[in-house]
């Protein structure tokens, strides 16, 4: 079983939804970033999503975009992220996934990427601009490395595409909660519930809900239709306002109980 599936199922078994915080690599700065990742891990994050900054992030809202561009100014590269993760391999209880746009992965070299992700203990890659049709080369490069290619689906993914994604889904499936970009929203559209009722039975891997989520209360209505929640912009905002990863995880762990 993928380490990502295992971490999420283990959280569910203890009566709560898994929590997947997202933070762009090198935010708020290169040193503090790793301290915050450690704090998120120590605070009980089940999977940690590390953003690989890209100059042209089309699926991101303003909060994540601004943070990513700052990280690029701090000199963050995929090479640096993988090297630093490699040095810390085994240090985190949480599963680690990298979320980034395709071009930096492609330029790194897909074969090399598969090798280095495995060496650095990366459990999965989320590539928001790589739909099923284009994902063959990356899947081939990751095959057998222990790093999974995570599928994203959304409100407008028709049933036949859900079935195609279900055939290749490993680790977990990332359900994008809104027709829009990342970023905190006051409420999620009601149609999310109806769509999740289609998504849930289509996949054998856990379902993680992401985009627009800032508070545990937002995920409560989804009951057992989801297994995990991804939270990004809210964490970035919290760090900008002087908060930290430990406090963030405390709130989420307390609020994310199943039921």
């Amino acid at each position: 079983m993928s380490i990502l599936t295992e971490r999420i199922r283990s959280a569910n078994a203890s009566g709560r939804k898994a929590v997947i915080p997202y933070l762009p690599a090198g935010f708020p700065d290169r040193e503090r970033f790793w301290a915050e990742v450690s704090a998120l891990d120590a605070g009980g994050a089940d999977v940690i999503e590390i953003g690989v900054p890209f100059s042209d992030p089309v699926a991101d809202g303003p909060v994540v975009e601004a943070a990513s561009l700052e990280c690029l100014e701090h000199g963050v590269t995929l090479e640096w992220i993988l090297a630093e993760l490699g040095r810390r391999k085994g240090a985190f209880r949480a599963g680690i996934v990298l979320m980034g746009y395709y071009n930096p992965f492609l330029q790194y070299g897909l074969e090399r990427l598969g090798r280095d992700c495995a060496a650095a203990g990366v459990g999965g890659l989320i590539v928001p601009d790589l739909p099923l049709e284009e994902s063959g080369p990356l899947r081939a490069a990751l095959a057998g490395t222990g790093t999974e290619c995570i599928c994203l689906v959304g409100l407008n993914t028709p049933p036949e595409r859900l079935a195609e994604y279900a055939r290749v889904a490993r680790g977990f499936v990332y359900f994008v909660s809104v027709l829009g970009t990342t970023g905190v929203r006051e409420s999620l559209p009601e149609e999310v519930l109806a769509k999740l009722a289609q998504v849930r039975p289509a996949f054998s891997v856990p379902v993680a809900l992401g985009f627009g989520i800032s508070r545990p209360a937002q995920v409560a209505p989804f009951g057992d239709l989801i297994d995990a929640a991804v939270v990004g912009s809210a964490l970035i905002k919290r760090l900008r306002e002087g908060g930290d990863g430990a406090g963030f995880m405390k709130d989420w762990r307390e609020g994310a109980s199943l039921g």
């Binding site: 890209f54 100059s55 042209d56 992030p57 089309v58 699926a59 809202g61 303003p62 975009e65 561009l69 690029l72 590269t77 995929l78 090479e79 746009y101 395709y102 071009n103 930096p104 992965f105 492609l106 330029q107 790194y108 928001p128 601009d129 790589l130 739909p131 099923l132 049709e133 284009e134 994203l152 689906v153 959304g154 409100l155 407008n156 993914t157 028709p158 595409r161 994008v176 809104v178 027709l179 829009g180 970009t181």
Partner: protein, 392 residues
């Protein structure tokens, strides 16, 4: 071959949320566009509204001086002043056929924005135009035109504040508004099916030019030359001639100031393969895959990528891509103004410049067909500034 590819270039590298609307457009492209009803409506609009066929003009003064026949395909004479209207009307019609109410566009030089705003006004659609803040100030004349036509202009402050950032923002908006909105992509780049769809609407340029050349010169041209930013006027001019191997296809990219290490807009000459804005193509990028800023004196060429079909034509050797710098483009601009009484867009001036700069290597009496993609009224501010710097 995989869908939407030209050799190794093309594809659909977009968020899953954009796949359904792209597949919907692909379906419409394959069913609605070829239908007799659509083609009749489109053809009538091109004739009666755009003013097609556009003239094919043999420059008498320059041809005499250069020793070869310089022919201009006069897209600058189209309604709104550029080739962009062909595509905007085609996609506007398609938008209406698909039952959507809003035309969304991005624009660099402003010409695609003006064309889309025009098509939207005429077809009774709403129009939203995303434009980099830098371009808003460089092209204030076109911003005013779009406003008059009823479009809502959204200036984009992120990134380099130019076309690539306007495209990022437009793609984001489209994710959210896809149920009511058609993204009228402005050039033959982006994810499949846009490169093919835009080429389909722009290939009227080459079809007309071929027929006009046969009628006026009695033969096909020896060269077809067009500027390449995203590459829609070029692919429109080239497409009809691709099967005619004896016709040399020359795309002209912007070399910026031409100084070593300067910013430029020449990904086919100086870029590497990569993925941006939904397609695998040639890109200006760092070794880490971050997109590098581009530059050209012509705002419409100021883009770090290029349409994937051009990358495919380059890889196969069917088309050749040259570069022209800002000064050479300016000189061609002045030459065409003074010697033929035509004020070309700075984008098109790059294509004219290639012909002027290669006078020694072009055999005498050749027929050189240059796509004059647009008129230069919009560029007066840039020209003024450039001349001030020349004098200073």
């Amino acid at each position: 071959m995989q869908k939407g590819y030209f050799g190794q270039f093309g594809g659909m590298f977009v968020p899953e949320l954009l796949m359904p609307p792209l597949l919907e457009i692909e379906e419409a492209m394959n069913t609605i566009v070829p239908s007799e009803a659509f083609q009749a409506e489109f053809k009538a609009l091109l004739e009666d509204y755009v003013g097609r066929p556009s003239a094919l003009y043999r420059c008498p003064n320059l041809s005499k001086r250069l020793g070869f026949n310089l022919w201009l395909k006069r897209e600058d004479l189209n309604h709104t002043g550029a080739h962009k209207i062909n595509n905007a009307l085609g996609q506007g019609l398609l938008c209406r056929h698909m039952g959507k109410q809003v035309l969304l566009a991005e624009t660099g030089a402003g010409m695609h924005g003006v064309a889309t705003a025009t098509a939207a006004a005429m077809l009774g659609l709403e129009c939203v135009v995303y434009m980099g803040a830098e371009d808003v100030s460089r092209q204030s004349h076109n911003v005013k035109r779009m406003g008059l036509l009823g479009a809502r202009i959204v200036p984009i402050e992120s990134g380099t504040r130019t076309l690539k950032d306007a495209i990022n923002a437009a793609l984001r908006m489209w994710i959210a508004e896809q149920r009511t909105t058609h993204y009228c992509f402005g050039t033959a780049a982006g994810p499949h099916p846009f490169p093919t769809l835009v080429r389909e609407f722009q290939s009227v340029i080459g079809r007309e030019a071929k027929e006009q050349m046969l009628r006026k010169a009695g033969k096909l041209p020896d060269y077809v030359v067009a500027c390449v930013g995203g590459g829609s006027n070029a692919i429109g001019a080239f497409h009809e001639f691709v099967p005619h191997g004896e016709v040399q296809l020359i795309g002209v990219e912007a070399a910026g100031t031409g100084e070593p290490g300067c910013h430029h807009s020449a990904p086919l000459n100086l870029g590497t393969p990569g993925v941006l804005h939904g397609a695998m193509s040639m890109l200006l990028q760092t070794k880490d895959g971050q997109i590098e800023p581009s530059h050209s004196i012509a705002p419409g060429l100021d883009y770090p990528g290029v349409g994937p079909e051009h990358a495919g034509l380059q890889a196969s050797g069917r088309a050749r891509y040259a570069t022209v710098n800002d000064s050479q483009a300016y000189n061609a601009f002045r030459t065409l103004c003074r010697e033929e009484g035509i004020i070309p867009a700075l984008e098109s001036s790059h294509a004219v410049a290639w012909a002027l700069e290669n006078v020694r290597s072009i055999p005498k009496k050749s027929d050189v067909l240059v796509c004059l993609s647009g008129r230069g009224d919009k560029d007066m501010g840039i020209i003024e500034e450039f001349e001030k710097n020349l004098k200073g």
